[in-house]
Amino acid sequence: MEWRRWGFWLAVSLVVLLFPLPQARAEGASRTLRIEARQFAFEPGELKVRPGEKVTLELVAVDVAHGLYVEGYDLEVRAEPGQTARLTFVADRPGTFRLRCSVTCGDLHPFMVGKLQVGSRLWFWRALGLMAVAGWAGLSQRKAGA
């Protein structure tokens, strides 16, 4: 029966989506990371912290004014040219989050992007799991239809 098969794949997908992945937490620890922003990149482009860490991002605008917006955390800080601005938060949400410049800084501004990885690449692994389930479902539909 078609609906039973769909129900099965939906249930497996939900397990993949909701299964708690192990994350080594670092409650109480703190870390300061310096990020240089220049047209049109953050340096370093990728930051890694542990879940639970208290993180301070020091944003240094090297050339023109830049901002730093942390997707998923909805936090923002702005720095004037040559100045340093700080943003402190607890990295309590695991996953990979895009860092975006939030101050128009030139032509490629909408694509000035960095990455903040908190713990493991949670959504990447979940996406891989979902794709494996979907591929399996696709193959099994062929067998069912054969």
């Binding site: 482009g45 939030s102 960095g114 996406a127 239809g145």
Partner: protein
């Protein structure tokens, strides 16, 4: 499982009458002209200029997230680009008048009746997209060039040769329209066969002959139908249907598979991967390379894009198909490449979700101040930049990619079964998972 939406009250009337479609196209043409003027005369700051924001954020979002996956070639139905050329070609603005237009109505060269030129045109746009997407004046110039090219083509060649054979956007819309759950077809081909006038192809007083050069009775795929509804107007036998159908029906249709379209599938899938790396990745050097046209770094970017889209992905896929030991491997390669259409479409959806969600809020200031001259027409000029979707974005992207993988594998299974080439299914599935996994790493890793 199909349903003819023309049976719904008012729908056929709405689509047969010229005024609704014409009005919409006219409004879009006005927006198009505004975009060109804003690009040339307005602020050079891309995210403050109507040209960049309206075209590459608003239009792109509607096209790739709504129009193409749900309605196929619906955009082509209202696209304003061919409109001025059609007016000149037909010598009429609204419908057939019986008078001759200015068009020479030559037949499009036989050797070019494919989408290789569209493949090349899209690749050219992709190679320069870091500039086109961010520079208002370049965006405006490209839009103006497209209109001029469409006018020139309409004056020399018959029907909508520009749309069918040249438009870089129309090429991929046609590819992905085959996955859409909407199709225009004939109800009964026997009626068409018996109808000697073939008004749907040559036209009559009610409407023009198919602008896409398609005989509706022979149509088995959405790629050659621009949903202009001329056949709906010209058919005297009420033999045209506009049906809702299951997604992706055309992809398993054995008739009409072509190598040029197969390559379009690789170009689009590879394009999504490269765009995700360039525009959403943290690698500043890559963005710089894509932006500095003509520099040695740009040549490196060009090599990457061309290598991935025209060589790497097709080469890897050819190996996967070969592993199935097909008797006619070119036929198998072309047929199985159609299985990549769902993955490519969903990869673009996943990419566009991130791109659009982050940049959509630029629309509000630009609506009030399209040229960046300090106006505040609707009081929204000061609306701050606000990314949308936030925490939901990774989930939506993961789901989009998973749907793309599952759908592609399912289509591959059906095509492999049709070709009696089930041995190729597992290598092709591995290719799909590899491409999907690569996209997931770029977007979520």
């Amino acid at each position: 499982m199909r349903y003819d939406v023309l049976q719904l009250p008012g729908v056929k009337r709405l689509l047969t009458h010229r005024w609704p479609q014409f009005t919409l196209r006219l409004v879009l043409l006005a927006a198009f002209v505004l975009a060109i003027l804003a690009g040339w005369l307005g602020t050079p700051v891309g995210n403050r200029n109507f040209a960049v924001v309206a075209v590459w954020i608003a239009w792109w979002a509607l096209l790739i997230l709504v129009a193409v996956p749900w309605l196929g070639r619906a955009w082509c139905s209202v696209c304003p680009i061919p409109l001025p050329g059609e007016w000149l070609q037909n010598g009429a603005v609204l419908g057939p008048t019986g008078r001759a237009g200015l068009g020479r109505n030559r037949r499009w060269p036989r050797r070019l009746r494919n989408i290789w030129l569209q493949n090349a045109a899209f690749t050219a746009l992709a190679l320069t997209s870091a500039v086109i997407l961010t520079s208002p004046v370049v965006t405006a110039t490209v839009l103006a060039a497209l209109i001029l090219l469409a006018v020139g083509t309409a004056l020399v060649y018959e029907r909508r040769a520009f749309c069918r054979y040249l438009c870089p956007v129309g090429g991929f819309i046609g590819l992905y329209a085959q996955a859409a759950p909407l199709e225009l077809r004939v109800r009964d081909t026997a009626v068409c066969a018996a109808h000697t006038e073939k008004a749907c192809y040559v036209g009559n007083q009610e409407g023009y002959g198919c602008p896409w050069g398609t005989f509706p009775a022979g149509m088995v795929r959405n790629n050659v139908c621009g949903l202009c509804f001329e056949c709906l107007r010209t058919c005297a036998y009420d033999n045209i249907v506009l049906r809702i159908r299951p997604w992706g029906e055309d992809l398993t249709q054995p008739r009409g598979r072509k190598l040029d379209e197969a390559f379009k599938a690789f170009i689009m899938l590879g394009g999504a991967l490269v765009y995700a790396a360039v525009f959403l990745g943290p690698w500043g050097a890559l963005k710089d390379a894509a932006y500095r046209l003509g520099s040695s770094a740009w040549w490196g970017y060009a090599g990457l894009l061309l290598g991935v889209t025209w060589i790497g992905l097709p080469g890897l896929f050819a190996l996967a198909v070969r592993a199935g030991r097909p008797r006619h491997w070119r036929r198998a390669f072309t047929a199985l490449a159609y299985a990549l259409v769902p993955l490519g479409l969903m990869a673009w959806v996943a990419f566009s979700l991130a791109f659009v969600a982050a940049n959509l809020s630029y629309i509000w200031p630009v609506l009030s101040d399209p040229l960046g001259w300090g106006w505040n027409v609707f009081g929204t000029a000061q609306v701050p930049w606000t990314p949308y979707l936030g925490r939901w974005l990774p989930l939506l992207q993961a789901l989009a990619l998973a749907v793309g993988v599952g759908w592609s594998v399912r289509v591959a299974g059906r095509i492999a079964q049709e070709l009696q080439l089930t041995r190729a299914l597992y290598p092709v599935t591995a290719f799909v998972l590899l491409a999907g996994g690569g996209m997931a790493w770029l977007l979520l890793g």
